[in-house]
Amino acid sequence: MIVEFENTLNTPDAVRAFLKRLLDDALADAVLTAFASPHSPLPMPTLMIDSQLLDRAVPLAPAAPLNTARMAARVLSKDIGKRIAVVLRPCEIRALIEMEKLSQCTLDPAILISMDCFGRMENDRYLELAATQDDPESAFYATPDLQEAVCPSCRACLRFIPENVDVTLCLAGQSDKKGVTLVSGSLKGEKVLKKLGGTSTDLPLGRQADIDRIMARRQTHREEMTTGAAARMADMAVFQQTIANCLNCYNCRVACPVCYCKECVFVTDVFAHRPEILMGRAMKKGAVKIPTDTTMFHLTRMAHIAHACVGCGQCSSVCPSSIPVADLFITVSEKVQEHYGYIPGQDPQRPWPFLVVETDKQVE
Amino acid sequence: MEICTPDNTTSSILQSAPRRPVDSPTPLCLSCGTCSAGCPITGQSGFDPRKIVQMVLAGRDKELVKSNLPWLCTLCGKCEYACPMGINIISIIRTARGLVDRDKVPGQIHKGVELGLKTGNNLGLPQEDFTFIIEDVGEELSAESGFEDFMVPIDKKGARMLHTLHNKLVNTQNEDLVHWWKIFHVASESWTIPSVNWEGVNWGLFSGDNDAMKTFVDRIAHHMQALELSCLMYPE
């Protein structure tokens, strides 16, 4: 079902109005969306019950200081009988679907809402924008130049149209930047839109052309990115240069939405180095650097989740040493995902690829 | 509509066909195909030893006797030798042949048996013609160096070995006789050829005529006794 909503308001307001209606009409018990705190314009995921407070929500703000999928997973860690509308970027939706496969959350109580995503800015860039604009959301969607200023992963993202959501907020092709077209992607979504009482309509006229335009641009960016990244890890020696400045702060895995471990293996006893080994090695070589397992960390993290990488780019954004972690990850995961024929976030029913045992080989 | 041939009567062929001591007392055929696989003429004009066995086991004697199947067989015995169930296949086929009216026996065999009984050889060759041919061949041999003293021993009483002949060797391929004789001569063998009833091929075997077969065998036994011989050479 496709519904044109509040075409008199500008788009972010229309979206806010939509979310309010969900609460007002009791279509959802709560809404989880981005909210600018009194302390900073940076949007933070917030669980809202009071529809009045939604005036201060910034669901379309082109920034994400953290991947909201992880926060959403906390709220959705079990079904407590409340329906929660969750507004997420497509990459975050993908992450959430992967997390459900890992029993980290349940999507049964969730109404998944996502938008055609033009990307997010790095935090400092967004703060700049917020400092100069009263309504950074509207400014972003009205200014194509600003849309080019998103982070590298977003510029190279080819999956910016939501998949597996209940309601899609169509932003591409909204030429006058007024209102929002809502598209249901499931029975659950269709029910919501029906109750909303809108009349069924068509997708915005210019939407496909807009998508194609963005896609073409992003494909170019992506090629550049993967070529560049491939060169940075062409062999182990080059790769050592690439990660030479890694501080082992593990920010990248903290930020990663699919790196789901409660406690990373790299902080467990598995990597506690035995003094016997260190001493033995020192005796042999004359000197030995106390190991930090830096290379091990990056390779292992890839081995653990490259097949599930959703390409959100958070890892790069949080790196204090400006290592293009996401570029590397996205480039590697492209190959690994192709190898397994596995696309994260695409099919909620599909198990993690290495759990699948080809039945003809499973002779018992 | 006609339902298939009755196969529930007992077979007289099966009952009367003689069995060797090694043969199985119960006619057990699993139609495994060993006989058919080994038979040199399986498939020719629909011949298949297994089929014959199955026919008699089903009591379809008449059908078998009426067909030309029994006559296609060469009685070589490969089938019987390998039969894992010890079925007397050759004996069965001979018995079937014996049940055919004599005038329905294929011409040459029938004629051969008749002539054999009447004249002592399957060709019906008169005795004088026979001795002429034999002596002529013997003379030819004595012309060769080393065989100057060779003579064909006919009806030689007290020799060691009786030499019966395949009629073909007498009629058309008598140069083969020379090879035999050369060997006998060099080996200083004491042997003889009977002037009458010299036939070494018992077509009673092939026609399924046990009486005739017996007659032919008796004749040879008679030679052995009359000429006081101790050893028999049988060319078939």
């Binding site: 890992l102 029993s103 980290q104 789901y260 471990c261 409660k262 406690e263 990373c264 293996v265 467990t268 006893d269 598995v270 990597f271 506690a272 035995r274 016997e276 080994i277 033995g280 005796m283 989740i305 993690w352 290495f354 759990l355 018992e364 | 509509m1 006609e2 339902i3 298939c4 009755p6 196969d7 529930n8 009567t9 199985s24 119960t26 006619p27 057990l28 055929c29 699993l30 139609s31 495994c32 195909g33 060993t34 058919s36 696989a37 080994g38 399986t42 498939g43 629909g46 298949d48 297994r50 089929k51 086991l57 009591g59 490969k78 089938c79 390998a82 039969c83 894992p84 169930m85 010890g86």
Partner: protein, 990 residues
Amino acid sequence: MEKTKSQFLVLGAGVGGICSAIDLAETGYSVTLVEKGPRTGGIMPQLDHQFPDDHCGMCRMLPMVDREPGAQTCLKRGLSHPNIRILTHTTLTDLSGNPGDYTAVLTSVSRGVDALRCTRCMACIDVCPVSVLDAFNDRAGDRNAIYQPFFGNPEALPTIDWDNCTRCGECAQACPNSAIDLERVELTESVAPVSGVIVAGGNPLYDPAVTDLYGYGVLPNVVTATAFERILSGSGPFRGQPVRPSDGHPIRRVAWIQCVGSRNVMIGAGHCSSTCCMFAVKEALLAKKTLGSDTDTTIFYMDMRTYGRDSQRYRDRAEEESGVRFIRCRIHSVDPADDPGDLKLTYLDDLGQPGEATFDMVVLSTGAGVQKELPPLLADKTDQGAVVTIGPEAGLQDIRETVLRAHGAVSSLLEKLNMDSRAKTIPKTGRAGDKSVNRFMQQPVIQVLVLDNGVVKAPQVEWPAIEGRLERSPGNIFVNRLSIIDGKDLSLELETVLKETRGNRLLVVSNHIAGYRATLTKRFEEAGFSAPLVEWVDLNRNDVSMGTETIQPDAAMKPIQVALMRLLHKRPSRGMAQVVENSALVIGAGPAGLSAAVSLAEQGVVVHLVEKEISIGGNGPRIQDEHQRRPIDQLIVRAKGHPNISIHTGATLGALSGRPGHFEGWVVKENMEIPLSFGAAIIATGGTPAITEAYGMGKHPPLVSHFDFEKKVLDPRFAEDTLNTVVMIQCAGSREEPRNYCSRTCCVKALDNALRVRQLFPHARIVIFYRDIMTYGKSEELYAKARTRRIRFIPFNKSKPPVVRTEGDTVVVDGFDPVMGEAVHLKADWVSLAVGMVPKPIHDLCRLLEVPVTPDGFVHEADAKWRPVDTINPGVFVCGLAKGPLRADEAVAEGTAAALRALRLLNRTELAPQRHSAVVRHAICSRCYLCVDSCPYGARFVEPVLGQVEVDPVACQGCGTCASVCPNSATVMGENEDFTVMNVIEAALM
């Protein structure tokens, strides 16, 4: 007699012998496994693959619940279990005394090679001038008179073949260490008291040299099936690069001739050897795999006896997917073809047309040979009940049947001796002696024992250099060198070291001590160093010495460092043991279930027998043949009267929880819920005749199932009617998808019925349409009998079945007889269809018991060959029709086998968790449950309140799949924790 001293003899160390030895050992008894030959394993080491799945998996026979005492290694290679003593080169020469208290005399023949002195340099083999055909390769290769009997000789000791040894002395001269004694010595020992004897002598294979038709022994490219398997094998005479024996040409075309030495009354072998058909199919597939998929593989057969549950599909896959050709014709003879080495076969095809084909090799599918008679000293004791044989009366058996028979033999032996299953000799290994526990619980301190064997031929080791490095290694390491040159007794020196050491872990470094290992292990145990606390490094091994003269210290240190690292991670304790309930739940009271229940009850186990129907007996009471029914009637009586058995009829299992050794469940009966607790469960839910619509079944009254026809024939009124024609059609609705398995029982039933009809109506026409007559083993005799009773057998292909139609009121069957080459049209008074058997619906039950179900609805056993009555759940067993079609007598036998398997679990008072088993570290676990999904044994479950993952330490087999899917090592494996392995890898690459 004291039970703790109960010991048994098992004669023959083939599949059956090994299986029954493990069974007895696991049930708590000591076993002496006596083998006449030089090695264990029977035919198994000769075969790399076995039907019906082309896989081995022999190791799956090893204990599941108390794994550590049993050898955790390949069973083809050998077996070590603290309760089992293996004697090769040994025979039983006397057995006296009374049942349960025999005295046995065993006579061993010396190997001619001293295990302690021998350095395994094999110089003796190199110089031996004698060459004999190698029986191991079934004459497809040679060996010397002194040789290594391949597998089953883990010590790799050469052995003298006394029959062929010429005593020339070359080997003794070549031996650098004077290890060879050319005098054959017989040693005799007396073993007493022996409670019972299991005779597992195996079946000799037919020797095709007896027949001149196939050219065996004359044409080098004609071989037996075993020899062909050896030719293909990587360890065979061609080392995995098989070529035609006559000339080394590639093997492109292979034919199999079936029934060589079987189904042949002329050689006194009227039986079917049961296994050869499947063996041939397997070999054809193996040939395709080894020689290339385009290899021409043709099997010439009489009936393809694919009577196992999985066999028909296996055969179909071979034909349809792999292109194996099947031709129904017994081959007359093998002739040399025009090209030298080629072999020519003539045959008749399925349509009766003659054909001829040329092959590179012809394989003779040899069946069972002449069964050795039991020696009188055993034969006269079999009826005493304490000497039991494994199935020689049944002839050649496949692995599955052999394993079942071994279980059954052990079960009946114990039952007859009426032994309390709770024997007290269950070994408690892996635990250090009490007084030294504290020391071993401390931080690892490593005592290195350098054992210098001083051998001549082995590479020399610079011991001082190695000792120096060890001493300089960081950590608490102490080094002592002991010299054991020339087998010198080292007890004093060793004792001193072991007594005085501060070490609590042992590292043994040597250049060759294989011969001493058993003795040393015992010494170490006595000193408190249980096996897990000891690591061994033998430097005289390829991966270190590479055939060099001297072992460099650098090379030597590689394995030493790995072993040191492992020792640093070793822990002595294994955690808490769990209590075992000495009771069992048997579900289903048919022949299999009754048999299992009675067998268990006889051995002191409390049995809850649950039956869905209102009466017990299952299909048993419906068996018409009194001879077959009587044993089941007897079981019914025994079960009803047994104090250890409580019977719940009209009842089902309602709920279940717990773990192997201790389950709790509810039995639901007429709205009542009866709580039960038990240690093991046996599924024996049985089966029923299949419903089919094949041939218009159900539409015409004269069309009946062979079960119904049997009833009619047995009805006295049947004989009063007239009867002209009976037609039977086999495999109705079965042996093709979706029910593509053979029900095993229908052919025999059809033959029985046909013979009964023949008796009543000497002149009736009886015609049986069949695909393959499945009269395996002795039942072949019944087939032979029917063949002599003027019953007409017409083979058909599944693509061209006979057609049943009606003409007015008459039913007519149209078919084609390829043997007679004629169409047949039969007006039938009765058409009896062999409808086959299907299992009772068991999906719900199996879900409760966490046991998988096959696509056909049978219970999926743990392993079709090696664990035929086990399921993947170590506390749940299965027998009878629930797991595959079989006859009632076979169901009874399976019931006994399942009972024995359950006993192996129930005989314990407690179950100790295993060293190699998984542990969850809840604090860092993210509850993703990947481990739960990946566990192949269902040994993990989610605790419902907190969602924590729990491991059933009994069900867990220690495979570590869980640990490898866990990204943050929240699941770790005992002995192979991630941190251990990471350190070991570091040490290995240092």
